[in-house]
Every structure is written in C-alpha cells, then in structure tokens.
Subunit: 217 residues, 2 copies
C-alpha cells in the first residue's frame, strides 16, 4: 500500500474508533510508526485527511445511488440496504462527529451542503424507481416527505440524540437497526402483493430495541 493510502486507512480506523476530534495527526503518525514530518509531506493538516476521506465516502454513496437498467425488485432493495449499511459503517465517524465537523470547517460544511442536496435528489429518484416498479404506492407529497425523513434518520441515527447511554461505542448491530428504521419509514406504502416478501427483509435487519436502548421496554 502506498504511504498516502496507509495514512488514510489508519486515519479512518482511528477516527471511527476514537472519534475524529480526539485524534491528532501525531496520533496517526504514531499509530503508523511514522515521523510527523513524513505524514505532513502527504497531508498538511487533519482537515485535508478528513476532506479526502469524505471524498471517498461521497464517491461510494454516489455509486450507491446509480440505478440498474432493469426494473427494481425487492432483491435490489435488500442489496441496497446492505450496501448502505456497509458504507455508513465504514465511514461512521462522519455520522458521529457531523455537527462538530460542520461547525469547525466552513469548507467541509459547504461541501456537505452540496452533497446533502445531491443525495436528497438521488434518494427521491430511488424511491420513485420503487414506485415505478409497483413496489411502493405513494403520491408525490408522500414521496417528498419520505425522502426528507429518510435523510434525517440516516444522518441522525448514529448520534440518536440523548437516548444512547453516554460514551457507548457505535456498533454494527446498532447501525443495522438504523437501516431497519429507514425501511420501516416505507412500511405503510408497500403494495399488498409485496407485503409477504418484505417480511424476510425485516427479519434480516430487525435488531431488538431492548438490546440497543436498555430501559425503553
């Protein structure tokens, strides 16, 4: 692996496990057994590393939204949800530290704003494709509200405001439940013919709430 890519991989790992704001470029250099000078040769500062990781996240998500030529099926839906889970898990520091990143870095905030608008348009297109395929039964007003609610759930789940015990590490099981919550946003709109099949998807994604948020039951 090239030095540049090793730095990015190590940064991503440290950001994800310790939180972006608790990790300095010195931590990253130490973790790689590299001199700070060598790291600075590749990245002048931490925001440049964050920007590069964000670009990779953006590319993954833009690819995620590229629709297949054929009409969508429930198998596509299952694949898409798993893909989304994997992308968010891989770049989970972005969800966990989003507010601080937006606050601290105007360049990042501007770029995230454009990304948010593009993602909302793409997500609307994706839901529209499931409407066209006869899987979802919704009108334009419901589609608009669903798209926006889906964006909020995906972007807020990792920080589940105040409901998670303090200092608890984000787990893949917890994110899986977030994907389930996303899927449940559409549950009132599934065409009757597709209802039985959607049960398998639910079973794959549903993590009991009591395991994640003890005290809610």
């Amino acid at each position: 692996m090239k030095t540049r890519d090793r730095i990015l991989a190590a940064s991503l790992e440290l950001f994800n496990t310790r939180g972006e704001r608790h990790v300095t470029t010195n931590h990253i250099a130490n973790h790689l057994g590299m001199s700070p000078g060598n790291l600075y040769y590749h990245f002048r500062n931490k925001p440049m590393i964050v920007a590069e990781l964000f670009q990779r996240f953006e590319q993954r998500l833009d690819a995620f939204f590229t629709l297949p030529e054929a009409p969508l099926t429930l198998d596509h839906k299952a694949d898409l949800l798993e893909q989304l889970l994997q992308i968010i898990w891989q770049f989970r520091f972005l969800q966990q530290d989003l507010d601080q990143l937006l606050e601290a870095d105007p360049d990042f905030a501007q770029r995230y704003h454009a990304f948010a608008q593009r993602s909302l348009r793409h997500a609307r297109g994706l839901y529209q494709a499931f409407i066209d395929a006869g899987i979802l039964l919704m009108d334009a007003r419901q589609l608009e509200a669903l798209t926006l609610n889906a964006w909020i759930i995906i972007n807020s789940w990792a920080r589940l405001p105040g409901a998670q015990p303090r200092g608890q590490q984000l787990t893949e099981q917890f994110l899986r439940r977030g994907i389930y919550q996303l899927l449940m946003l559409e549950d009132g709109y599934i065409a009757p013919a597709h209802r039985p099949a959607i049960g398998a998807l639910h079973a794959r994604l549903q993590v009991p709430l009591g395991e994640l948020l003890p005290g809610l039951d």
Copy 2:
C-alpha cells in the same frame, strides 16, 4: 417579575437567538442592565440556568403527553401538533445546541437520557391511543418503529444535518415543516374513514420545501 424569572426569560431569549454556547453569564447580566454579582446571587453559573430552563421544558413536555379522558379525535391531533410546535419553538436552543450540551455537561446528559426514555414511552402511549381510537391502523412492530423515528425527526429537525445553508437562523416556519414531517410519518397508516379530514391538517402545516431548502427542487 422576580429577578430570578427575569434572568431565566432573558437567558432563554439570548440562547434561542444567539445559540447557547455563544452566550455568557456576562452577556445575560448586560442584557438585563444587572451587575454580574447580582446574577451570580441567583445562579452560580450558566449550567444552572440551562438546567432550570430544561426543567421547565421537561414539565411542558410531560404535560403535553397527558392524555384526555375521552377517546382521541383528529381535533386532538391538530391541537397536539400545534402545542408541540409551540413548546419546541419556545425552547429551540435545546434542539439546536443539543449535541454540544450533551457533550459538555455530564449531569445534563444523564438527565436528558432519562427524559428521552420517558418521552419515548409517552410517545408510544400517545400513538397507541390514536390506534385505540381507530384513527391509525398499525401493528406493534410498526408502532415501535414509528415512535423511534418520530423521536429522531423531532430531535434532529432543528439541525437538519448539513442541508440548511450555514448560519441560517431557525424560523417558526421551518419548525412548522418539521411538525408536518412528523405527521407524514403516519400517513401510510391513517384509517380510510379519516383520510379526507387529515388533509386539512396537512394544509395547515405544510410549508413548501423550496422555501426552506432552496436548491432541492
């Protein structure tokens, strides 16, 4: 008004308009034409003011969740949504600065955690009452997912991650759209007999998205 109440009212106003973290106890004293010493006599520090305001917010929200004896109707729903909008608007700094408050103050975080769990149980009870009244048609799994999604929308809307232009002030119109987004979470579950009447509620709350998030259309 007692000095203590004047301090709380001024703090709430400044927190809401400037953001909690940009307001110091000196700003509050200045705003009231009061000496810092006089303010400290009533509140030793800013977290004590935040704690007192949060307690009032909690009391308002707990009262909000108290159900009427009679079976619920759509008029109740309309009233509840307006009440919720008013409570959130009055204490909007809590929504806007939530992540920072939780991070900076462990006592507040612990209290918010208990509040979150109680609110989720109350919200589930409220949705259950609308199921019992025959207005919503949902099973237990849908009720659980709806409750959690509603909590996330309400708690995250004010910060609408990355989608709002930077530095934009939160407006009541923007919050109104958030209440509409909350109502739309149930739209797939409204009993057919109640569908026509729900249209009036939508009309009252729907703020065109293009006005709030330019560039999404």
